[in-house]
Structures are given as C-alpha cells and as structure tokens.
Amino acid sequence: MRKFLSMMLSLVLLLSLLAFVPATVAAASETEAEMEIEETEPVIEYLPNQIPEGEPTNMDPVALEDIKIGFVHVSDPSDQGYTYNHDLGTQHMAETLGLNEDQIINKFNVPETAECATALRELAEEGCHIIFATSFGFEDFVLEVAAEYPDIEFCHATGYQALTTDLPNVHNYFGAIYQARYLSGIAAGLKTETNLLGYVTAMPFAECISGFDAFYLGAKSVNPDVKMLVMYTNSWNDPTKEAQVAQALIDRGADVIGQHCDSTAPATTAQQNGVWHVGYNSDMIEAAPEASLTSAVWDWSQYLIYAVNHRVEATAIALDWSKGLADKVVDISALNEDIIAEGTAEAIEEAREKILSGEWDVFTGPLYDNEGNIVVEEGVTFVEPQSAPSFEFILEGITVVE
C-alpha cells in the first residue's frame, strides 16, 4: 500500500513538473487577486480552534528569566542580509527584555527540506517555549511540527497559512516592506543615468513581484522615463548566482541594481562595475561604499518582543501580524550622502509623509500591467489582505528576463 501510494505521489509530482506550472499558477492567482482588490480593511474570521489576539491561551505562563526561544534560519549572519538582519532583531530583543545568551537557541543554515522539521523538533525537545522560523519554505514543516507540540508557540515569517489552519499555536508575521522599497526606489530613480534599472530577485511569486513593483513605482515617481529589467536567481541565498545575475543586468545596460535576495553580492558586483546599488535587509554601505545608495530594511525586534511577551503571559499572539512604515517596522537605511543624487532626501521625505498620512499608498491606481491591462482602477488603493503579499501583477515598464 505504501509503495503504491509513494509511486502515485511521485507520478503526480512528475506530471506536475511536465505541466507548464507557472502559467496555470499565474492564471489562478490573477482571478484571486482581482477579487481581493477592495478598499475595505480585512476582517479576521476565527476558525473553531483559533484564539483571538490577546485572549488567554491553553499554555502555561512562563517567567521571562525561564523562557527559551528558538530560531530556525535558512542561512547565517554571514549573508550580511536577511538572516544577519533578523539576528540583529534577536539581539535587540534579548537586550530589551534582558535575556541571557543561553535562553536563545539559533539553528542556522537549515535548508527548506525535511531537515527543517528535524531542527524544529530539536528546538522543541530542548525546551523552547516559542520558536521563530524565518524563511518562506519552512511553513509546511512548521505546521507539521506545531501540531505535535501544542504547548509551544510557532511564529513563521513571510508565510500565509496561519489564518487558514486551525492550529491555535501557529502565527505568521511580515510587514509592508513595499513601502520601504518605494522609498528606496526614489533614490534609484534619481540616480540612474541610463534610465534602466536592474533588479536581482529570488523567486517568481508575490512577495518578490510586489517588492520590485513598489521599487519601480518609487523610481518612476521621480523619473517618468525609467525602465526596469528583472532577473530571478530561483534561490533565496546563492551569492554566486546573485553576483552573476547582477553582472548580467549591468551588462544589459542597467546602472542601478536593486535586489531582493539575501546576500551583499549584488552590491559588491555593482561596485566592481562602477554602477550603483539599492540594497535590502541591511545597510550595505559598508560592503560597497562607492555603490550602495540606501537599503530597504526591517526592524524585526518589534515583533519578536511583542510575541515573546505574549508567550510569557500565555496570551494569544496575532494569527497574522503586519506593520509598516508608520510603526517603523520597515524603513530605509541612512542615505549614502557621498553618492546620492541631489534632492533625494527631500523627495523621499515627501513620499514618506504621503504614505504616513494614510490617504495614499504605493499601489494606488491607475496601474497597468506590462501587457497594458488595467490592474488597479483610478482612485482605488490596493490593500494587502494579509501579511504575506499577494500583489503579483508585473507593471508596465518592467521586463522580466527569463
């Protein structure tokens, strides 16, 4: 029976490989996203087992000095990017809450495979009360392990399934990073001389697409003639490939490189070629002082402190947590004063005020996709229905090279 099942499963897998997956996925999600374009604030409907934010959970409260916190990361701080920055958040949290070093257990370089489930179980067995998993591909393993350990809170960054699973101990968190990307795009739009931006991004799905859309819209807001090329690395953390893709974009004429991948390789490649760069996750000026203009950055410590405090009191963590520029969860790093174009700081401040006013957001219509279809009507603002981004139209002026 098992053999038969596994054979069937592998057959299904093979078939799905053969089918032209990206096309069907794109078609399916298009209709979905169209339905979601509404101005109303999303309302959370709780499933039977889920506990509304702030209500007491079934877990036992734990003293702050006894709590153990686990982290599962896809790479390690040497990426000087995503994991580095998330780890800075961890350190800041530990300082703020006055935690000891031995209360935090980090699992670095965990691949998005069954090894993730093993790492999660190890953390659970080591007595962690709350576990953070920080990479998109960890989500299924988080769900699997969370079902086995109902007394442990599991928080997963960038995921989308906490709302639809009825496990009360799984939570998603992310933020409106597109707002920060919009601001960083302004620096790129003012700096470019060839009017061609290049963008190194990881995977062809909504988190990445909404990211480069926002970056491009920021650039276009100050430079109407600007165009952008996008290339995928198909990996979250592969510095070799990231450098090669950045080089290929520069070779195609791009003179500002934006990025949505974990390492500083695009920044150093831009510097070697004498062009400019806008980073992600952390201030990359140190890695590329002559190229890095600014970066869109996260402050993860806010969520970590919030979630750990709730675990201490044994009250429910929000199922789906998302904050943006207004709460400083996302922002841009200090501008590189030596190389930014004149007027960059002023233009960014103006856009920041506009976003903070609450009346305008990045995805305000009219917006067209790169086939000329209108995707957001004039006067309408697309609001993300949950923390994980869902906006996945490739906008006019952007060319994806694949």
Partner: protein, 324 residues
C-alpha cells in the same frame, strides 16, 4: 559583439574554479587514482584559503598581495592534505577508490562548513577580509593591452587566478606530453604492472600526482571564496562545482589542454540563461546543460572507441604488486 564579449567574460569567470578542479582531477586520474572527492577538497581549500588570508591580516597585518599569496599557499596545502588522506587509504591501505573518494567529498563539505562557522563566530558574526585584500583578487589592468578594442576585454580583463589556471593547464599539458616523468606517470595510470616492471616507483608517482592534484583542486575552492563571493565565507560555497569539475574531466577527455576550452564551454553553458535567455525555457533546463553535454561526450567516446580520448586504463583500480 559587445554582448558576446560580456558573455565570454562571464563564462571565463564562472568556468575558472571548475577548470582548476578539473586540472587537479586530471592529474590525479593520470596516476590511476579516481578521486571523486573533488568537491570535498575544494571545500577544504575554500575555507583554508580564506582563513589563511584572514589570519595573515589579523596576526601579521599583511593585507593585499601577501594575504592573497598566503591564501594560495594554504588552500593548496589544505587540498593536498585531503588528497594525502585519500592516497594513504587507497595506495597504501588499498581501500576502494570510489568509496574513499565519496567519503572525502562528504568529509570536506563538513570540514568547510564547520570551520567556516567557527571562524565566523571568532570574527564576531561573519568572516570577511579587508578591502585591500579583496582588491588583490579584482580584475587586473594591463594598461594599454587592456585598452585594445575587443581583444583587450577578451584576454586582458581578468583576475590573476584566471591566468594562473591557464598557466597550470599549459604546464600540465607540457609535463604529460613532453617530459619523461610525464610519460612515466601516464604509464602508471595505464598499466601500473608494466610501469613497475620498467622500474618506475608506482606508489611514489601515485602519491605525488594525487597530492598535487588535490592541491590544485584546493586552489579552485579558494577561487570560490576569494573571487566569486568576494572574500566572505558563505555556507555551502562550493555547492556542486566540485561535481561539475568531475564531469568536466570526462568532457575534456582527460586532457589538460582540452580542459582549457572545455572549461570555457562549461562556463558558457552555466551563463547561457543570463545572456541568451529563450522565453519559456525554465532555468532548471539550463542548469542541466553541462551534464547533458557530458553525457553526449560519453556516448560519442564509447561509439568511437578511441584510445587517445579514453580514461586511463587502471583508473579506479588499486595496484598490488603481489597480486598477479
């Protein structure tokens, strides 16, 4: 034309670490040792080279060229050390070559990642060499030569390790084809019993070729940390380049001279997606190309049954004088 030059530049940079691994493995296999541990030796060279440069900066305050030379030396020693273990196991103890090689690949991967993270902890987060040392691995400027249109950019625009790899390839070719010792080595790889009867010290040749070959693989690994990732230790830096090198040995049909342009072809196939994308063809298809090319060469070789393009005959077999 411009795009073509850029494509070739990218292909050369991507092909060089694989070429170095291949040259090391060709030398090894010429002695009749099929060392599948290239991936492991490249990992050992990668972390040791970076660690060497980093400690040279920390302890002796050497940066730039001296640190680069230390990286070269230490990565060679580390790769050679991995190969020494292999040679001791297979030549002296006569362990199975395939199993030993695979073990070395796994061992080296762990060695690299373990010490990479240890070094990162010691350095407080992550290891990175100074900008001065990074510059020592930047593309060279040959002055007027680099300025010749097209030719300058095609031939005189790389970092020193690229030229080093080319010199190693030519030197290996000359050694194997035009020296008495090269002939001896080839005969050890083809038929160790015959070589033994002719008074050649089979074990000495096997040891030396394997160890030096491993050292060259180690330098290939050092290229990955010092050039490709810019002097930073990244978890799993080598990620499969060692196996590509083993495939390239077959693709180049065990000739260091052919490895030169076959390495360029391999680099080109790896870069193809970025420079000549065909809409609708997924990246995974492009990633298969070097291996597909290798399979095609294997098929072609087995059809032609050529003696010149074949693997050294005793490759993979241990030699035991008393066993006749």
């Amino acid at each position: 034309m411009d795009n073509f030059v850029k494509f070739i530049n990218a292909a050369v940079l991507a092909g060089t670490p694989v070429l170095l691994g291949t040259l090391g493995e060709i030398l090894t296999e010429k002695s009749g040792n099929l060392n599948l541990g290239v991936e492991g030796m490249m990992f050992m060279g990668a972390i040791s080279g970076l660690a060497g440069a980093w400690f040279a900066e920390q302890w002796f305050n050497w940066s730039g060229v001296p640190a680069a030379l230390i990286a070269l030396l230490i990565s060679f020693v580390a790769g050679a050390f991995g190969a020494l273990m292999y040679a001791f196991l297979t030549v002296t103890l006569r362990a199975n070559q395939n199993v030993t090689g695979l073990t070395l690949a796994i061992f080296g991967t762990g060695f690299g990642n373990f010490f990479g993270e240890l070094l990162g902890k010691r350095a407080g987060g992550f290891v990175t060499v100074t900008a001065h040392t990074k510059d020592a691995f930047a593309n060279l400027n040959f002055g007027p030569l680099s300025k010749i249109p097209v030719i300058g950019r095609l031939f005189f625009s790389y970092n020193w390790l690229v030229y080093f790899a080319v010199i190693v390839a030519i030197a290996l070719h000359l050694f194997l084809k035009h020296t008495r010792r090269g002939l001896n080595l080839r005969s050890v790889g083809e038929s160790p019993a015959t070589a033994d009867a002719a008074g050649i010290n089979v074990n000495l040749y096997k040891y030396l070729a394997t160890i030096i070959g491993g050292g060259i693989c180690g330098i290939g690994g050092m290229y990955m940390t010092m050039v490709t990732t810019g002097g930073i230790w990244v978890h799993n830096t080598i990620r499969g380049y060692g196996w590509l090198a083993v495939a390239l040995v077959i693709f180049a049909t065990w000739s260091p001279a052919r490895a030169l342009y076959c390495g360029l072809i391999f680099g080109g196939l790896m870069m193809l997606r970025l420079y000549l994308p065909i809409p609708g063809v997924p990246q995974q298809i492009y990633d298969m190309l070097p291996y597909v090319a290798t399979i095609l060469v294997l098929i072609g070789m087995s059809i032609r049954q050529s003696k010149e393009y074949a693997q050294p005959k005793s490759s993979g077999l241990n030699y035991f004088r008393e066993e006749r």
